[in-house]
Amino acid sequence: MNSISIQAPRAGVLVRRGRRRVGRGLPAALALLPTALVVLVVYVGCMLWTVRLSFTGSTLLPRYDWVGFAQYVRLFANDRFLTSAGNIVIFGILFITGCLILGFLLAVFIDQNVRGEGVLRTIFLYPYAMSFIVTGVAWQWFLNPGLGLQKLMRDTGFPGFTFDWLVNPDMAIYTIVIAGIWHGAGLTMAILLAGLRGVDSDLWKAARVDGVPAWRYYLSVVLPLLRPMVVTATVLLATGVVKLYDLVVAMTLGGPGISTEVPAKFVMDHLFERNNIGLGTAAATIMLIAVVSILAPWVYARYVREEGGRV
């Protein structure tokens, strides 16, 4: 129902009186053309261009020589890149899991017919409407040991309270996870809530007759029914993971040291500050390959399922 799914075109749609169909169908196809071209030329073209550049020794300006895999060899010997890659994996896993858990709890909660549901839903969703820059700024202050939470707790009578993750190289990446979850949990909530609303309330009555506790009901009965919504939410969250950049820039600028570097920032830094287009594009290519290899099985599965199932 409410999931983001691409429906197979219905067979009957095209069966109309012949001439009218041609008359309407042609401009329709023309309307699609610019979009299709843009997708093809801009996205695919630029991606291929990036890949090509990654095999050159370009520095400040692009050159079109051929250095083979030299940039990739350098890339995988680069601490900064390896840290970035590790960080994006940590962030991705924790961020998606965290958002799903918190979002599910919030959705279950709102599903109890609480008062002011519409208002609460909007408040929970608000963080998602704010830019990562502002999110980063707000959390940078909140987690700053000298200004925010730690100071607040110490001032109000907990002198031993310590929360210095933001300035601790080992923990700083987790502060970015926290800010990210805060940003994305509301979106997950809204999507899962739509799914919860579609669950037949008779199921709960039946479960109650059988003496099933509420938590068990939600975990074993409802959650499996929400699978399409969980998939939708995961896909949306995953696109956020790939884009992780502005949050880091606003919160830590990659620091302390290089502890919160992420791949997108690595590419930017090498393009603009370090004048190393070759290495930057090599890192970008690795990112493209990573995303495609995660995406491909999913798209493939989807195709096979839809083609085999409905058409």
Partner: protein, 273 residues
């Protein structure tokens, strides 16, 4: 589920506490923006104080805030309008005249949304340099339009699908030309959907920082760039930074509150009705 009255009161209380916790960082930021720099870092933090507008005045003077805000408005609205102009005919074609490849094309376009933007950054930057588009409003408008186009088309497509075909067909029988069909029938009928889509596009443009940080310096820089330039790693000028951030999120918070339904539907990419 329908819990009893007492449970319900408890649940409502818990809900508001959760909402308060979630909203706290924002609330605190807004509060800080009305304090002086000294009060902002005071011990213990003051909840009651004489509000001051000096930070807003300072922000305005120091960095020509109006200039950045204007850029944000022009670019967001421009890119949204341009995206709608391209997307409405495309979505119309896909929803009412689907071909064999329509589904593939949609999936294709959506998948570009999942690709990392850094994958195309360097070529786009080089193109921008050649066309003199760096630090120009129209350059950002074009990039934002391309960036949001797949989502905008996808959302309009789902909304158009909900419009009963019979109505459009009746219009056709009465001799409506394709343009009339779209303008006089389809658009009015799916107005809430178009509004959700436009709102989403505006929010995405408004919040965008990846491209604006890298493709603009000052002339066309929007608010996100402005705030990022304010953000000192040690939290200096905290009150001023709060004021700048508050100003940047205020339109979205107010606008979003007025159109909650559209906001929820837009932010979830049309998945929630």
């Amino acid at each position: 589920m329908n819990p009893g009255i007492r449970e319900r009161l408890v649940l409502t209380a818990v809900g508001w506490i959760a909402a308060g916790l979630i909203f706290f960082p924002v609330f605190w930021m807004v509060l800080t923006s009305f304090k002086t720099e000294v009060e902002a870092v005071q011990t213990p933090p003051s909840l009651f104080f004489t509000p001051t507008l000096e930070n807003y005045a300072a922000v305005r003077e120091r960095a020509d805030y109006v200039h950045f805000a204007t850029n944000s408005v022009v670019i967001s609205l421009g890119a949204t309008l341009l995206a709608l102009v391209v997307a409405v005919p495309a979505a119309y074609a896909m929803a009412f005249f689907p071909g064999k490849r329509t589904k593939d094309l949609l999936l294709w376009m959506l998948s570009t949304k999942m690709m990392p933007a850094v994958g195309v950054l360097i070529p786009v930057y080089l193109l921008f340099r050649d066309f003199g588009a760096i630090d120009s409003r129209w350059g950002l408008i074009v990039v934002y339009t391309l960036m949001n186009l797949p989502i905008v088309i996808w959302m309009l497509y789902t909304f158009f699908k909900e419009v009963p075909k019979d109505i459009l067909e009746a219009g056709r029988m009465d001799g409506a030309r394709p343009r009339q069909e779209v303008w006089l029938l389809l658009m009015p009928l799916s107005l809430p959907g178009i509004a959700s889509t436009a709102l989403l596009s505006i929010i995405l443009c408004w919040n965008e920082a990846f491209w604006s940080l890298n493709l603009t310096t000052s002339a066309a820089a929007p608010l996100t760039t402005f705030i990022a330039s304010f953000s000192a790693p040690e939290g200096l000028f905290w009150a001023k930074l709060s004021a700048a951030s508050t100003v940047a999120i205020a339109p979205i918070l107010v606008f979003g509150w007025m159109s909650q339904r559209q906001l929820v539907r837009g932010l979830t990419f049309g998945a929630v009705k």
